[in-house]
């Protein structure tokens, strides 16, 4: 009799424990489906590929302004400068192209990736600076200027190509993915906002005069020319300013947390087209 009771208790305990365990399981495929369903159901009139256009997919008036801006895009100078820089050899005679697959043309959609050798997430910005350092050149600032120009050119050569972010069967890759997910949903700063507070729960709503972009495909247009900045900015710049805006002290550009959240968001964007470089209010 005692044994029967013990078995029943164990069965009940297991039944109770299973949902909690399931919630803790890292399942990028299930996350991807839920993430996509959330946005497509929330914005049923927005075509899937249009999410990469951020606020312009949410607001007709803004879209008209953007279409007019695209006649003379403010990021054009960065693309031209980036192209020139990309083709200029380092002092040792090698070029950026020597550091990348397909000589760096049309590869933006594969970044960031998880490097199984080093066990870390490699973003395009990090890869560019590592390329420079491997060839005896000093690294660039991660937030704007030269880095924005180089990534603008590389994004431009990848326009229309679909995000193809892979999570290898490596527990370290899954841990990086989950750390990125955690960073995205964690509240921070004195204002107690998470990335998701604005770009999931409040996507499409106004914050003062700005329309909050949906998180789905939010990195596809990077780097961007922001009218607010009056210049180009990289993904690093975007993360740094987001943290400051909620009164949090930003991390160093390319901190592990920033790279991991880029990995998470880019995986969520798989199958969506690269639209960068972009222009934003």
């Amino acid at each position: 009799m005692l044994r029967v009771i013990a078995v029943l208790i164990a069965a009940l305990w297991v039944a109770g424990a299973c949902p909690a365990a399931a919630a803790d399981t890292i399942n990028p495929d299930a996350d991807f489906k839920a993430f996509r369903d959330y946005f497509t159901k929330k914005f049923p009139k927005v075509p899937l590929n249009d999410f990469v256009n951020g606020p312009y997919s949410m607001d007709a008036g803004l879209r008209k302004q953007w279409e007019a801006i695209e006649d003379f895009p403010p990021y054009d100078f960065a693309v031209d400068r980036g192209k020139e820089m990309f083709g200029t050899p380092f002092k040792n005679g090698k070029t950026y192209g020597d550091c990348f697959a397909n000589k760096g043309i049309g590869v933006r959609q594969n970044y960031p990736y998880f490097d199984e050798k080093s066990g870390e997430v490699i973003t395009l910005e990090l890869a560019l600076n590592r390329c420079r350092e491997a060839n005896g050149e000093p690294p660039f600032s991660y937030v704007k200027d030269e880095m924005a120009s180089l990534t603008a050119y590389m994004a431009f050569t990848s326009r229309g190509k679909l995000f193809d972010i892979k999570i290898p069967n490596d527990p370290r890759a899954l841990a990086a993915y989950q750390n990125g997910e955690k960073y995205f949903y964690s509240r921070r700063g004195q204002l107690n906002f998470s990335c998701a507070s604005c770009h999931v729960q409040s996507a499409g709503q106004h914050i003062r005069t700005e329309v909050l972009a949906p998180a789905l495909g939010i990195l596809a247009a990077m780097p961007i020319y922001r009218s607010e900045w009056g210049s180009m900015g990289t993904i690093s710049r975007r993360f740094v300013t987001c943290n400051s805006q909620v009164r949090g002290v930003p991390l160093e550009p390319q901190d592990e947390n920033y790279r991991d959240v880029e990995y998470y968001l880019s995986y969520m964007a798989n199958g969506l087209p690269i639209s960068g470089p972009g222009a934003r209010p």
């Binding site: 919630a23 803790d24 996350d31 839920a34 993430f35 959330y38 997910e181 955690k182 949903y185 964690s186 509240r187 921070r188 700063g189 004195q190 107690n192 998470s194 998701a196 999931v200 400051s244 009164r247 949090g248 002290v249 991390l251 901190d255 947390n257």
Partner: protein, 102 residues
């Protein structure tokens, strides 16, 4: 009765003045040490707040000007902000999961 009120008021004013005048370099040093320790813990958690930085800077500026009352007050404010950011980081360490889209 009126005399009692007046005397009470004077005593309160005197006490308040005494408390305000009590801040010294040593008080500031102690308040600043506590604030800095809390801020370091927040930094280890990668969750510092910009108002904490501002309060710490204000405290140092007031101390440099010899205004220890303000300096102590700002340092205590910085400590409170740093402790709030630590509490936020610890709470969010698990609370984030409730916000995930499922």
């Amino acid at each position: 009765m009126r005399t009692i009120f007046a005397m009470t008021g004077l005593v309160m004013l005197a006490a308040a003045s005494a408390a305000q005048a009590a801040s010294t370099q040593a008080d500031f040093d102690a308040a600043m040490a506590a604030a800095t320790a809390a801020d370091k813990e927040a930094a280890m958690l990668k969750n510092r707040w910009t108002p904490t930085e501002q309060a710490l800077a204000a405290a140092k500026k007031a101390a440099a000007a010899g205004d220890f009352d303000t300096a102590v007050k700002d340092a205590q404010h910085a400590e409170a902000l740093a402790k709030a950011s630590i509490a936020q980081a610890k709470e969010q360490d698990t609370a984030w999961k409730a916000a995930v889209i499922h």
